[in-house]
């Protein structure tokens, strides 16, 4: 006991004057923070993860939660997080696993970019009265179109590659069944159908109850190849090869055996209770040529009817990698920035490996343009897209569309408590426990996710209208509509944006 216990992270107090002893906090907390004893509610603050379920359910606003009610001695270098990580590892000698996205206070580039608007010259457009084109096509675009003229009839000679048609450039990224609940996946599926966009299945197969939404699904093929067979590939609207993930670039995934329940076992196609280990590399990919082989094998298997995406984590040389991907027959490259969320990742990777999506997308777009192959692939940006302004900014930096992940979960109630790995998500999202999953009603949650996508789409068209742009294509890569505010010169050079006032 040389270390002893560390201070509680969250301190809970109940305002006894307000509490009516309804017991909802007791029922709602899967972490057993609350206990009822005759005419009082006892709390055990140490178990609290600040998921806010009790706060949201208390009819009398009687509960308050304070972060770090016991201070450490303040120190700018030896922060609480650093000290607690050392205590943890001094005790266990193990790798620390953590949830959600990057938790280090790196500056957010998005927050140092501002958008443009028209004044006097070049009038702004009112999206209420004028049509705004947000429809986005993901996939290869031909370099040029060839036509055949026949007695006054014109027909297209060029064969077009299959593209996904999105009503809005906002999709929901890959969160697997296993990482999130079936109700959460269903909610997202219903929402993307409603809003005319798409979602990713994650590396967890496709549950039969999602078949009705399969034409809105991008099925994922990752290094574990879980749940991948020809039926799965044919059901999806598109196929995505996952090479890497922003939350943990360079390493694989690992779904522990205890989470492989009957249903998860059936979609992943592995025995109940066995570990699902996704190795770091794909064992048939050791080079760009091998990647090309996998892309083509998927196309060949599905008779070249489906777009194939390749997702990589944003890392130092993303641009060169993306250029290789663009030449591999892939139809889109997904760049997942270092703020991407995850159910569980080693803390050291989550916080220290990878680069921000803003810089990665800008450099990928620039590289593809400089090589004259930007039309060969669409760019999908993901990892840390928090609001519609981020969508507008990343499109102006060169993306075609975005994947949102955490934002969609937050729309369903997620409080970003970061303890998804415990499998006890009180909001029924990152859990497989039936009573908790039942808390998430897909009818209601899907509406919320659809509302979010709808609201962002409206904001996006307002932002475009204000800038005098009536089509998303005119915003794409349009860095002139961005200015860097207190961004350093070298970052601005990478982003290819000017400073404010210039």
């Amino acid at each position: 006991m040389t270390i002893g216990s560390v201070p509680v992270r969250f301190g809970i107090t109940i305002d006894r004057a307000r509490c009516m002893l309804c017991g909802r906090c007791v029922e709602n907390c899967p972490y057993d923070v609350f206990r009822r004893d005759e005419d009082t509610i006892h709390v055990n603050s140490r178990k609290c993860v600040a998921c806010h379920r009790c706060v949201a359910m208390c009819p009398r606003d009687a509960i308050s939660i304070r972060q770090r009610p016991v201070d450490y001695r303040d120190h700018p270098v030896w922060t609480e997080e650093v000290r607690e990580a050392i205590y943890n590892q001094a005790r266990t000698g193990k790798i620390i696993l953590a949830g959600m996205g990057n938790a280090k206070p790196y500056p957010v580039i998005f927050d140092r970019l501002v958008l443009d608007a028209c004044q006097v010259t070049n009038p702004s457009i009112d999206p209420l009265r004028e049509p705004m084109e947000l429809r986005t096509y993901i996939g290869k675009k031909p370099k040029k179109l060839e036509f055949r003229y026949d007695n006054g009839d014109i027909s297209l000679e060029t064969t077009l590659s299959p593209n996904l048609e999105l009503a809005t450039p906002i999709m929901v990224g890959h969160m697997s069944y296993g990482a999130i609940s079936l109700n959460a996946q269903k909610s997202i599926a219903m929402a993307v159908k409603e809003t005319g966009t798409f979602m990713g299945t994650g590396e967890g197969g496709l549950h039969p109850s999602l078949y009705p939404y399969q034409d809105r699904m991008i099925v994922q093929v990752a290094s574990g190849r879980f749940g991948v067979n020809i039926d799965y590939l044919e059901r999806g609207a598109a196929i995505e090869i996952k090479i890497g993930q922003g939350a943990k670039p360079g390493i694989g995934g690992h779904l522990p055996g205890e989470k492989v329940c009957e249903d998860v076992s059936c979609t992943r196609m592995i025995p109940v209770g066995s570990d699902a280990i996704s190795p770091a590399p794909h064992h048939d990919i050791y080079s760009i040529e091998d990647l090309k082989q996998l892309v083509r094998s998927l196309k060949e298997a599905t008779s070249w009817q489906k777009p194939v995406f390749v997702k990589i984590a944003a890392v130092h040389n993303s641009a060169a990698i993306a250029a290789g991907i663009a030449r591999s027959s892939a139809d889109a490259v997904v760049i997942d920035g270092f703020r991407g969320g995850t159910g569980a990742a080693p803390r050291v990777f989550r916080d220290h490996v990878g680069i921000p999506v803003e810089a990665a997308v800008a450099s990928v777009d620039a590289k593809l343009r400089s090589q004259g192959i930007r039309n060969e692939v669409s760019i999908i940006a993901s990892g840390g897209i928090r609001e519609s302004a981020d969508v507008a900014k990343i499109i102006a930096l060169g993306a075609d569309a975005v994947y949102i992940g955490t934002a969609a979960l937050v729309a369903m109630g997620c409080r970003v408590c970061g303890t998804c790995y415990r499998g006890l998500c009180p909001w029924g999202i990152a859990t497989q426990r039936p009573d908790l999953v039942a808390r998430l009603d897909p009818e209601v949650a899907s509406k919320q996710v659809a509302n979010l996508i709808h609201a962002w789409t409206l904001e996006l068209s307002e932002l475009m209208g204000a800038a005098g742009i009536n089509s998303i294509e005119s915003l794409r890569g349009n860095r002139d509509r961005l200015r860097g505010y207190l961004l350093d010169e070298s970052t601005m050079r990478v982003l290819d944006v000017k400073p404010v006032g210039a």
Partner: protein, 247 residues
């Protein structure tokens, strides 16, 4: 019995696969492909109850995602035949390259001669689907790496192993690798793998597979059947269970 012959000389793999699909759709149950010279992805994602006889050397990923058909190759194979294959059979009258049966989840592959590195990597199994990879000759390092299920049977003469076939069953967390011989040099075992004499029920299980192997290649099964075997299995079903602590 409807039989179709395709001359693949100079043909790209996409039109070749299109021809194969058309033949299957029109009810062919035997397709003979001659002059195969490195075309990849033959029978990729193909379904159905059809036998494809290949003369020549198919390129990488023969029978990838395949679900049902039988491919008989009269020649060698490039890398990863049976990659993520779901069901059906691949019989190779020759040798094959690296990553044979990568992530295979059902069906069987019989290689008469040798295979390259990482054979049977990440094979898995689910319910009645238990993939089988049989190698008649030698194999290189990392046989059955990351294996999560299924069976690899290596029938090659143990006296002819070089001892350089390191990393057998490295990271194995399911399934088994059965090797001919009464022992296995421990230095050849991968991390997390354990070698032990094949138990009696193991012999019962491999006997029909050995007979099928012998039958495909016109060999006498007796010497294989009378020999001794060892099996390589996971030393723990949870190789990574002790690596992590929570934040």
């Amino acid at each position: 019995m409807a039989r179709v012959t395709i001359d693949a000389a100079g043909m790209h793999y996409t039109p070749l696969n299109r021809r194969i699909r058309e033949a299957v759709a029109s009810g062919a149950d035997e397709i003979e492909i001659v002059n195969v010279m490195g075309q990849r992805f033959i029978a990729d994602g193909l379904r159905g109850d059809v036998t494809i006889i290949i003369h020549g050397v198919p390129g990488g990923d023969l029978g990838m995602f395949m679900s049902g058909p039988t491919c008989i190759v009269h020649g060698n194979c490039d890398h990863a035949p049976g990659n993520t294959m779901d069901g059906g059979k691949i019989v190779i009258h020759g040798s094959a390259g690296d990553a044979v049966a990568h992530s295979m989840r059902g069906g069987s592959i019989f290689v008469r001669d040798n295979i390259g590195y990482r054979g049977g990597i990440h094979m898995k199994e689910y319910r009645e689907r238990c993939p089988v990879l049989v190698v008649g000759g030698s194999f290189r390092s990392f046989l059955g790496e990351y294996m999560a299920g299924g069976l690899i049977l290596a029938l090659g003469d143990p006296a002819r192993r070089t001892g350089k076939e390191r990393g057998i069953g490295s990271g194995i967390h399911g399934g088994r690798i059965v090797l001919r011989g009464d022992s296995l040099d421990r230095r050849c075992l991968g991390v997390g793998a354990l070698a032990r004499p094949l138990p009696d029920e193991g012999y019962e299980r491999i006997a029909p597979i050995i007979r099928e192997y012998a039958c495909w290649f016109g060999l006498d099964p007796a010497p294989f059947l009378s020999d001794e075997y060892v099996e390589v299995v996971p030393s723990s079903a949870r190789p990574f269970a002790n690596k992590y602590t929570w934040e």
